[in-house]
């Protein structure tokens, strides 16, 4: 089975965000970038399927040279090949999906795995965009995946429960927390991964659909009424919930 895992690089959640000089993007000075946490589940799931059923795992990312490190992390975890679709400028999610589709048409994977969302723009959209571009079925936010020859049963998290979805290969799955526990790469594998070849694939620069006009920090915090734990003070909060918030 040929498995393509698509990953991305994002600012660490705990990083402080400052507005950049263009007022449209963040100031990346001092920002720590990491492998998108949901993509770790996608890599791990790809590796487990390969270990069970044989085949190969190729990891791909769209971005500039600095994305080599997340590809090497995936190689150290056990991926066989790494592909950098090299773009040195800004691109939107549709362009990401379009470029993954370009590579997939050449590579012909049986299964494409991605994280459910990247934690920078939190849009959940690339798996579905890619599915339609390739005319593949897809299931998003999957917390359990079973593959039996060509048939796939995926459990997908929805509001207040789960959907059990049946589909078949080739298909696209986006991974949710709970699907597996991603492994930590071992030191010798990290050293080996540094020497591995990373294939470059050309970026097709189509028109951008999304034009960012401004990026701002959210309005300054709410002016909170913070009290102690005396009876009267707790009563005051309950009264506010009743009279001001009108919730009780």
């Amino acid at each position: 089975m040929k498995i393509l895992v698509c990953i991305s690089k994002v600012p660490d959640t705990t990083t402080k965000i400052n507005v950049g000089e263009d007022k449209k993007s963040i100031d990346s000075k001092g920002v720590k970038f990491i492998l998108n946490p949901y993509d770790e589940f996608a890599i791990e799931e790809g590796l487990r399927i390969k270990e069970q059923k044989g085949g190969e795992v190729t990891v791909l990312t769209v971005g500039d040279e600095s994305n080599q490190d997340i590809l090497r992390t995936a190689l150290a975890m056990g991926a066989d090949n790494a592909v950098l679709v090299k773009a040195s400028y800004d691109f939107d999610s549709f362009q990401v999906a379009n470029n993954i589709a370009n590579y997939a048409k050449k590579y012909n994977p049986d299964l494409i795995l991605l994280g459910r969302q990247s934690i920078d723009f939190d849009s959940f959209q690339v798996p579905s965009l890619l599915a339609t571009l390739l005319d593949f079925p897809s299931v998003s936010v999957v917390s359990k995946l079973t593959i039996d020859s060509n048939k796939i049963i995926a459990e997908r998290d929805i509001e207040g429960g789960k959907e059990i979805v049946e589909t078949s290969l080739p298909c696209i799955i986006s991974t949710q927390k709970g699907i597996n526990e991603p492994r930590y790469p071992k030191l010798p594998d990290i050293m080996k991964a540094k020497k591995k070849n990373i294939e470059e694939f050309p970026f097709e620069n189509t028109n951008k659909y999304v034009e960012i006009l401004s990026l701002q920090l959210p309005d300054k915090k709410r002016v909170g009424k913070i009290v102690g734990d005396s009876d009267n003070e707790i009563q005051e909060i309950v009264n506010l919930l009743h009279n001001e918030a009108k919730i009780i």
Binding site: S128, Q216, P218, G228
Partner: protein, 321 residues
């Protein structure tokens, strides 16, 4: 924009509140005759609630070859309807269904897509969209450079407003769809029985590390019960195995915007704030007055949660009579 299509959803054959929110959002952008609701279902539906919230046109699609939901097949149906009606803006709810379906529709329609909309305004005939990024630590404003635009709206941000109309124009459309278009099929929906889910609740009470152990979670459950809300949890509590992942609020859990969010013994790590800071009101209870949760709270009580929560429950019961 000229014509808006709203993707309507049912839960137990009742229109979801998030669908009504879309009607209000659309009514704020254009006149009623240019707004079309679409419902894809084989069931008989009651449209009274749609009239109450001011939807003038309803398109019904019921000639489905299968009963199963399928994002591939349904995206093709929406595409056909949108093309027939010359729609240039499509609105979906930003729930599990919408987030999966809307991007598919956008590709079929050669449209531009943006997710998680929290603000929508028309400035000089141009649609300006606001959306949180970087776990809510920043907000971007954007526009979409395509004639047809597809959006998902974050639930419970655009309040549904009553806007009674007398008559609703209903039309049944036939679509060309075959069993082969159902590339993936939902076989079964497993509901978490007897439990209100955090993503569907008006009020949520969540516990964090400060609750000290699963045996103390009854405090959270009781407070949720008197408030008529759902039980949530922080990541620490879920990772410790005290509560199921379905209750987790935050970046690796669910993003919620209830009317009231009560955080009990939760310090307020940025990952947690990402999942709940757009709540309308936030009440925090924590022993550490420096805890970051108090910076986003409307109301806060500093002290021992094991003393405070029982008193809070008593006082709420008194008010509720």
């Amino acid at each position: 924009m000229n014509k808006i299509l709203i993707y309507l959803e049912l839960n137990n054959n009742i229109f979801k509140r998030s669908s009504l929110e879309l009607i209000t959002a659309a009514n704020n952008l254009t006149t009623k005759e240019n707004i079309f609701g679409l419902i894809i279902t084989k069931n008989e539906i009651n449209d009274d609630i749609l009239k109450k919230y001011g939807l003038q046109n309803l398109i019904i699609v019921n000639n489905l070859p299968l009963d199963n939901y399928s994002s591939s097949a349904f995206s093709k149906i929406v595409n056909q309807i949108a093309r027939q009606l010359n729609i240039d803006l499509l609105l979906f709810s930003g729930n599990a269904t919408g987030l999966e379906l809307a991007p598919k529709v956008s590709v079929l329609l050669d449209a531009a897509y943006s997710a998680d909309t929290i603000g929508l305004e028309k400035v000089n005939e141009e649609l300006i969209i606001s959306k949180p990024v970087y776990a809510g630590k920043a907000i971007i404003k954007l526009k979409l450079n395509k004639q047809i635009k597809v959006l998902t709206l974050r639930p419970n941000i655009f309040t549904a407003k009553e806007d009674n109309i007398e008559n609703i124009n209903k039309e049944v459309y036939n679509v060309e769809i075959s069993e082969n278009d159902f590339k993936e099929k939902v076989l079964e929906v497993k509901r978490n029985e007897g439990k209100l889910d955090v993503s569907e609740a008006d009020i949520i009470v969540s516990g964090g590390r400060g609750i000290k152990g699963p045996e103390n979670y009854y405090l959270i459950e009781e407070l949720a019960k008197v408030l008529g809300g759902a039980v949530g949890a922080s990541r620490a509590v879920v990772d410790a195995g005290w509560r199921p992942h379905s209750e987790q609020v935050g970046q690796t859990g669910k993003t919620v915007s209830p009317n009231l969010y009560v955080a009990v013994g939760i310090s307020g790590a940025v990952q947690h704030l990402a999942g709940m800071s757009s709540s309308k009101y936030i009440l925090a209870i924590n022993k550490d007055k420096e805890a970051p949760i108090f910076k986003v709270a409307d109301y806060g009580i500093v002290g021992d949660i094991f003393q405070i929560v029982p008193k809070l429950i008593e006082k709420i019961k008194q008010i509720k009579g």
